[in-house]
Amino acid sequence: MYAYDAYDHAIVNARVAEFRDQVERRMSGELTEEEFRPLRLMNGLYLQLHAYMLRVAIPYGTLSADQMRKLAHIARRYDKGYGHFTTRQNIQYNWPKLSETPDILQELADVEMHAIQTSGNVIRNVTTDQFAGATADEVADPRPYAELIRQWSSFHPEFSFLPRKFKIAITGAREDRAAIKWHDIGLVVKENDAGEIGFEVLAGGGMGRTPVIAKTVRDFLPVKDLLSYLEAMLRVYNEQGRRDNKYKARIKILVEAMGIEEYARQVEEEWVKIKHTPIDVPAEEVARIKAFFAPPPLAVLSEDVPEVDALADKNFIFKSWLHNNTGRHKVPGYVNVTISLKPHGGIPGDATDGQMDLVATLADTYSQSEIRVSHEQNLILPHVARKDLPLLWAELDAAGLGTPNAGLLTDIIACPGLDYCSLANTRSIPIAQTITERFDDMKRLMDIGPLKIKISGCINSCGHHHAGHIGILGVDRRGEENYQLLLGGSGAEDASKAAILGPGFDEHGIVDAVEKVVAVYLGEREDGEEFLAAYRRLGADVFKEAVYGTD
């Protein structure tokens, strides 16, 4: 993984000192709340319903075991013994004191972490495939480019006061696990006919009130031009993005209004003017960053491990875990393990300090001290030898981290909702809890197969309901929590927008409706047909009929 040099340390430490000064000026009254708000937001500090909330960046979702131990320590020392992993591969603490946040940031800086630009109208944490650098279906590891973008976008002199937040995602794999088409800018690492590495560049995706799927701006951008091209894209947006209405300020609205061709034309025109300016990163710098992401030296092992097969034969839970929670590694004999943070009846994405410490220890033992966070709010141990799986699983299971449901119906994304968030209209977590309790039977879940449920407690869509195979959106109906049901969304390479099926439900009705939708699928599916494919083939009507009746 990337390691800070003296420059990185100096910059992050300076940021801690700056924020400490800003907090002191706020506490003394020198800064008003109106002035302080954008400053605290640029450092990931929100005011929520019960307390402040601090969002800590986990750049491109990659953590070392030591960093995870620090996150556990912060949960214990400054918070209430837990943290919440988010859909942007970050972690949030729900109870920090304003006066203690500078100390938290200093502790983070000590392990090369920060909360820079995890909120506010700035370029946010760059997200990527949770299996980056470890998956068999990859053109190239996208993380060196994500790190390049992290550095370039940090404290950018021109782009720190954008019309609205700005999210960039990058993937190097054929299968899109980073939802790149739902981002302001999406980058797909590609190889051209000459065998050179570059990017397909997409723009204008986003969720919120106006869901839009990103469109291609450029088919192939050479690596050396990455930052200058991003600069041109951001400049056109910074100048022309709407600032009169925050709901229309994202780049998706600009791109929809001017058309993708016109946006691309203006970007190219500006890019020609700035190409080859000092923004082009020296090749030595790309090489320096790449070296940090060199694959770990793994000796090829046999894929056949009799102990694993024997345990799977006699233990259905382990067999399910093996099937759902382990994925192919690029080196034979190894897998990437998904640690589900979705225990049935639990809070999606939450982990206790003890669980974080355990994951760190297991990473030291089994995964080269490396940990990933997925946008689906799970943790990943990459590079695990297949032969270690029985032992690893036993340790995870004993700590409540062995739920074998990755990618299944109960692997639900849910935003914090009204239990914590001051923007929410309804609670989200209790819906996820009721659904996962209702579908607690592993045999039934395995039979249903891959199905993504995503729940947002308001139209801001932090729970990605637009991209859910089944999406649930909470709305305030005359002071009551009401839940709309959406079907047919996808965050993958076949991205699509989920459509509202009909009138909303109360918190019990929505769970019944999900059950009816699943029943239709089970009754209508063809051999081996997954839920999303079946929905696309069948159309909404048959589901509508089952959920709402014939008239």
Binding site: Y7, I11, Q151, S153, E158, E239, P278, E285
Partner: protein, 169 residues
């Protein structure tokens, strides 16, 4: 109001020309862009140093049409979070190699001091109470991830210069 000098430039003393008032012979004046677009040869011959006042709504293409005729530019921020002002300054420096003073007016805040300097501003007009905070903010960061218009070289480049390699270790 006080003037914060970000770059050490010799700041321009000027009068803001309001309404239809004509400049005195040799007087340094700052003129709203809309008026400047209308002015004739005589106006430019009369005044001393002429600067343009633009707000952040200004399209750069319109500003570009007067760049050759101005000695300084005043970019007025309606609110501190309006980032368009930063792009205007960057474009003046980048597309026209504009060497004159660029001044920020309006409610910009001390915590923006380095962003302003690095986007190409020379001076900031602000309230007296903010002077020390502005000056303190300028001292805050020891290195930057972008090459900028305040004369700083990006860390990405500095790392690979001989001196930078010494600092990085």
């Amino acid at each position: 109001m006080v003037l914060i000098n970000l770059t050490g430039i010799q700041p321009t003393g000027y009068t803001v020309l309001v309404d239809e008032i004509a400049p005195k012979e040799g007087e340094n004046v700052a003129v709203p862009l809309t008026r400047l677009l209308e002015e004739d040869e005589a106006f430019f011959a009369t005044a001393g140093s002429i600067g343009v006042i633009v707000d952040t709504e200004t399209s750069f293409d319109v500003l570009a049409s007067v760049v050759e005729k101005i000695a300084f530019a005043v970019i007025d921020f309606p609110g501190f979070a309006d980032g368009r002002g930063f792009s205007l300054a960057v474009r003046l420096r980048k597309d026209f190699s504009f060497k004159g003073e660029i001044r920020a007016t309006g409610p910009v805040i001390p915590d923006q001091a380095l962003f302003l300097l690095r986007a190409g501003f020379d001076t900031v007009e602000t309230v007296e109470e903010r002077k020390s905070a502005f000056e303190a903010a300028l001292e805050r960061f020891p290195a930057y991830y972008q090459t900028d218009f305040g004369g700083q070289t990006s860390v990405a480049h500095a790392r690979h210069s001989a001196e930078g390699q010494r600092k990085a270790s």
